[in-house]
């Protein structure tokens, strides 16, 4: 079931005109921003499919940039995002691609500054709901409806067990889990949706496990 909640259907509250091309586009931008963790210096956005053909009419560019500025779908500043980004000195580059993708509404967002960069590929599946299909090259299928624990680690034995052990100690049940790696023995990324709140001390505890490089909690809420 792709749609889990009645509020996926009656909602979101949003600035028009399109739930997939405006609200969904904004949410993909916002996930990229949350993954990056701070205001980027540069944002490169590539639109595919219907996004590429109609982004000007639907304001998908404006919405994506609003998401990158960490605005929610109903934030009235959304309309002025391009100017706000300019005033903040964020360099915005927008491209379109003819490349065929799995879903007609796909965008690729690359955020960077002098120290780091992240790349997110997301699809807007309808009604404002999104799925992230790639995070820094790792293949996923994540909706981020609920806070999702992201653990970057070395691809080696015992990593899943190590994380699971900490969650068990804190009585946190796992609702959904995906693991993706670049190559065998290289880096891997774990994504875990939990049924209860993951407190900062749990994140810290997981971060202290050997061979774990980074832990974060990512959510659209």
């Amino acid at each position: 079931m792709k749609y889990k909640s009645v509020f996926d259907i009656i909602g979101p509250v949003m600035v028009g005109p399109s739930s997939s091309h405006t609200a969904g586009a904004a949410r993909i931008g916002r996930i990229a921003r949350k993954l990056f963790g701070r205001q980027p210096k540069k944002a490169e956005i590539t639109f595919y499919g219907s996004f590429a053909k109609t982004y000007k009419g639907h304001g998908s560019d404006v919405a994506t940039v609003a998401g990158i500025l960490d605005f929610d779908t109903f934030d009235l500043r959304l309309k002025d995002s391009l100017q706000i980004a300019k005033d903040l000195g964020i360099d915005i580059v927008i491209n379109t691609s003819e490349e065929l993708t799995g879903h007609p509404n796909t965008s690729r967002i690359r955020l960077s500054d002098d120290e780091k960069d992240v790349e997110v590929v997301g699809v807007s599946i309808g009604g404002g709901k999104i799925e992230v299909t790639k995070l820094n090259g790792f293949a996923f299928q994540l909706g981020f409806d609920t806070p999702t624990l992201m653990v970057l680690h070395e691809d080696r034995f015992g990593m899943i067990a190590g994380v699971a052990k900490v969650l068990t100690q804190h009585k946190i049940n796992v609702g959904l889990m995906e693991v993706s790696r670049h190559d065998r023995g290289s880096r891997a990324l774990m994504a875990i949706e939990t049924d209860s709140v993951v407190l900062p001390e749990v994140l810290e505890e997981i971060g202290n496990i050997p061979y774990i490089f980074d832990v974060s909690l990512l959510s659209l809420q």
Partner: protein, 295 residues
């Protein structure tokens, strides 16, 4: 959790509950949230919808492109001054549906139901039917849960976006959702709500998504108008006891298959249909300086 309309109706009828109540309980189970917090969120949605209806009917709404706005008011003025032909509830539903979609086109605040392109139909019919039936505020919120339950079934068994399944997936879904909710508010059974869904959606099958210049304006606003009309009439038909020969879930499946075989040019790419007419192309060139996509 129910997986399709048949299961939803079975759940409701076997427990002697309304569709809205089944939806609220399913939401409580899935989200592990309390009834109160879920209702509070839906009341917020109802408030946003009410504001959008009021704005569309009273303010001078005009989209950035200038293509849409003002028709909701025009229809209200016509109803005040002329001996209109269709009934007041129907025309109110049409005008309120247009009002919300005009607000959306002007980048105003709306609730996606299930999408922004189709955001007029559920609130438009809700407030028009409420004028006649005088429901409590809680019954109005229940309307949204019933609509949501049907949308949930359609979204998980077919699609709700124009890019994936054409306008039948957007305005078609919204129309079916509204039809079911009207039936419940008018005192119909869950089975009658399901029949209203089938009757409404059958009349939306094959509808393509062909927005002029890629804007959610032409023909979206007028399709929201007719969606509201179809929803209201479909609800009346179901309440009269008329049944769809093809069961509701099979109609939804047909919508899915039609959407899958629909060419990309007719799925929100502004490459075919009304977008590709001479006027559509002229408007596109005027707004963007160049055509979005060459013929």
């Amino acid at each position: 959790m129910f997986r399709n309309v048949a299961e939803l109706v079975e759940l409701a009828e076997s427990q002697g509950k309304k569709i809205s109540q089944v939806m609220i309980e399913a939401e409580m189970e899935v989200s592990q949230r309390t009834r109160e917090t879920i209702l509070t969120d839906m009341y917020t949605n109802l408030d946003v919808m009410e504001k959008a209806v009021r704005r569309g009917l009273t303010e001078d709404i005009r989209s950035h492109s200038g293509l849409t706005g003002g028709d909701a008011k025009k229809l209200q003025e016509y109803m005040r001054t002329k001996p209109f032909l269709s009934g007041p509830t129907l025309l109110n539903a049409v005008s309120m549906s247009v009002a919300v979609n005009e607000v959306n086109a002007a980048m105003g605040t709306i609730v996606a139901t299930p999408t922004a392109g189709a955001c007029g139909i559920v609130p438009g019919t809700l407030f028009a039917v409420s004028d006649k039936l005088k429901p409590t505020r809680e019954e109005m919120v229940n309307y949204l849960f019933t609509a949501g339950a049907i949308g949930y079934c359609i979204a998980n068994n077919a699609f709700i976006s124009g890019a994936a399944g054409g306008c039948q997936a957007e305005v078609g879904s919204a129309t079916s959702m509204a039809a079911a909710a009207i039936v419940e508010m008018a005192g119909g059974t869950p089975e009658q709500s399901a029949q209203a869904v089938a009757i409404a959606l059958k009349n939306m099958l094959g509808l393509v998504c062909d927005p002029v210049a890629g804007l959610v304006e032409v023909p979206c606003v007028k399709r929201n108008a007719m969606g509201a009309a179809i929803a209201t009439v479909a609800a009346d038909m179901a309440l009269a006891g008329i049944k769809s020969v093809v069961p509701t879930d099979e109609v939804i499946e047909a919508m899915y298959r039609i959407g899958c075989s629909m060419p990309t040019t007719l799925k929100e790419t502004a490459q075919g249909g009304l977008a590709a007419t001479q006027t559509g192309r002229q408007i596109e060139a005027k707004i963007f300086g160049v055509q979005l996509e060459k013929k």
